[in-house]
Symmetry: C2
């Protein structure tokens, strides 16, 4: 085992209380005692044991950020912002990945207990949390990019998201406004849960309906069995192109997928946007650096991340919850063009 506070105390010829005071700057210690202790601490590379600390103390100035699929590029920039803002408040931030198999809420509950967290931000996930589970998480919680779902009382959490359905609808209407009627859609969402992706699907359908464009299942590509990403977009787009010779535009539910789709188009010798218009969703850097840069529905990621921290500390302060729905912006960068025939 490593060196403990007890041994440091003995080596410095003081009590453990004094050592504790020195390392935590709590309570009064005479300068020369402090110095003595410090030197011993340095000499033996003493590091306090956090488990013991958490066990004893009830307040640690720390919050956690749980990210459902940290590999998601869209989340990356939000993570950076949150990291900075939390640090600015003098709090420590624990960043944890939550994989597909794990329950983010369960992890939050566990971590909250282990680390005496003051609050949690949960990024990604679904809209299906139970009021009961959320109640077990006794600390303030902010959902980022989703809300907790209908059954959960609004005053038990805060949330920040966009209106995925409306924004997706906007994307498709943008294509429609350019004369497109045969509009493909690529998406991937679990069947059993409500996620932002499911809402984007709804948005696609809504736009078609609104503009009296008949829905054609052949124009929709999806595959629950695989993870979405570049290759997913690539494969799905190839399917769409094979099946629909008259398709003139495609809406991909995420930028990564849009990139894969765009690659499929270009690889076949087709042109963007002359032959196929493509629009994505999220607003990640990769879509901008693709060539041609892809049009997209861009979420105000930095702003959302920033707000998540603010809402969390609002809750910490006076328990006030808030539910923000941000506007996304349609970025026209040239991957969509009016239909030309």
């Amino acid at each position: 085992m490593d060196i403990t506070i007890k041994e440091i105390a003995k080596l410095a010829g003081v009590s453990i209380t004094t050592v504790s005071r020195v390392i935590n700057n709590s309570g009064p210690v005479s300068p020369k005692t402090r110095e003595k202790v410090m030197s011993v601490v340095a000499e033996y590379n003493y590091i306090p044991n956090n488990s013991a600390r958490n066990l004893k103390s009830t307040k640690s100035n720390s919050v956690a950020l749980l990210v459902k699929s940290i590999a998601n590029p869209f989340f990356q920039k939000m993570i950076n912002v949150i990291e900075q803002k939390v640090a600015l408040r003098g709090y420590q931030l624990f960043i944890q990945n939550v994989n597909d198999m794990q329950s983010e809420l369960d992890m939050a509950i566990q971590e909250a207990q282990d680390k005496n967290l003051q609050g949690v931000i949960i990024m990604g996930g679904s809209f299906n949390y139970s009021a009961n589970e959320l109640k077990r998480l006794k600390i303030p919680c902010v959902f980022l990019t989703v809300s907790a779902g209908k059954e959960v009382p609004l005053d038990s959490y805060s949330s920040i998201r966009i209106d995925d359905e409306a924004e997706a609808c906007k994307a498709v209407e943008y294509l429609i406004s350019m004369g497109h009627k045969r509009i493909g859609f690529i998406y991937n969402a679990p069947l059993d849960k409500m996620t932002p992706n499911s809402l984007r699907h709804k948005g696609y359908l809504q736009a078609l309906e609104k503009h009296k464009i008949p829905f054609d299942p052949a124009l929709v590509a999806t595959d629950y069995s695989v993870a979405s990403g570049y290759d997913f977009g690539f494969k799905m787009m190839n399917q769409l192109l094979m099946k629909n010779k008259d398709m003139t535009a495609v809406f991909a539910f995420a930028d990564t997928v849009a990139i894969g789709a765009a690659k499929a188009v270009l690889s076949r010798g087709l042109r963007i946007p002359e032959d196929i218009s493509i629009i994505g969703f999220d607003g990640i850097e990769e879509a901008e650096y693709f060539h041609p840069s892809l049009d997209t529905i861009s979420q105000p990621a930095e702003q959302m991340a920033l707000s998540s921290v603010e809402l969390l500390f609002d809750m910490l302060k006076d328990g006030q919850t808030k539910h923000l729905i941000y506007e996304s912006s349609l970025l026209r960068r040239g991957s969509c063009a009016p239909i030309n025939n």
Copy 2:
């Protein structure tokens, strides 16, 4: 505070020992006692406190993966592999991001103590670890993509990496073999530390020297003050293009940077590879899905990740250390072409 083992014991009408036995499957418990305890545990959503558990220093079957800059796309796929392989061994894996300001080794030491880790994999970072610090980390440690540096005894850690210098040299020689002589280089490495990136810089110089191509500082773009990424590559490439009208090829030290650079080329209406050949390094998915797909020096990421887990468990088993240097492969995908004038 949350419910504790003591309260569960009381509610179930048994001792805490029995509860402990039930939840850990240690020691004998009669079926009906077990059932009784389980039901109380379930009813009250009891979750054992990990801090308290760790305090008892009962070797928890867990290892940690510390990632220097988890946002790095190249690391992402390795993380997935490691996650799976560790799980297969029945160990729990803690994944931790280490940002630029933090010392990965210090974090490892801290975590090892707090969580009773059995071992650590450190991904990324530099070649400058001190033997002393490594000694303070008393558990097996595997460095992935770097080694610990010259002063550290080889039997105190394991490592897996590639020969960055030789591979970078290979990339440049590939360009040279196609007749290129005015070859730009974009890179970014801290001045005070030895990193894979510094080695790639060396490789660039080495290739030039080997083929008697005069070194021209105007062909090298770097900027220590910013983080490297797409935008970095974009900016640096624009600088290079402005300064060197006769440049025919560029080697970017990382694929992300190569993508930004390629975007700069295409944005100016130049063609790849007809006007400028571009080659990157790492072998990330993004480079493949860029259009045109970018040539690159591809590291065997999955294999390296897999080996890192194996080496860690080798060390756990019998203390054997090993130092592997993998071969990278040159992926020719069409972003480089023979010079044509």
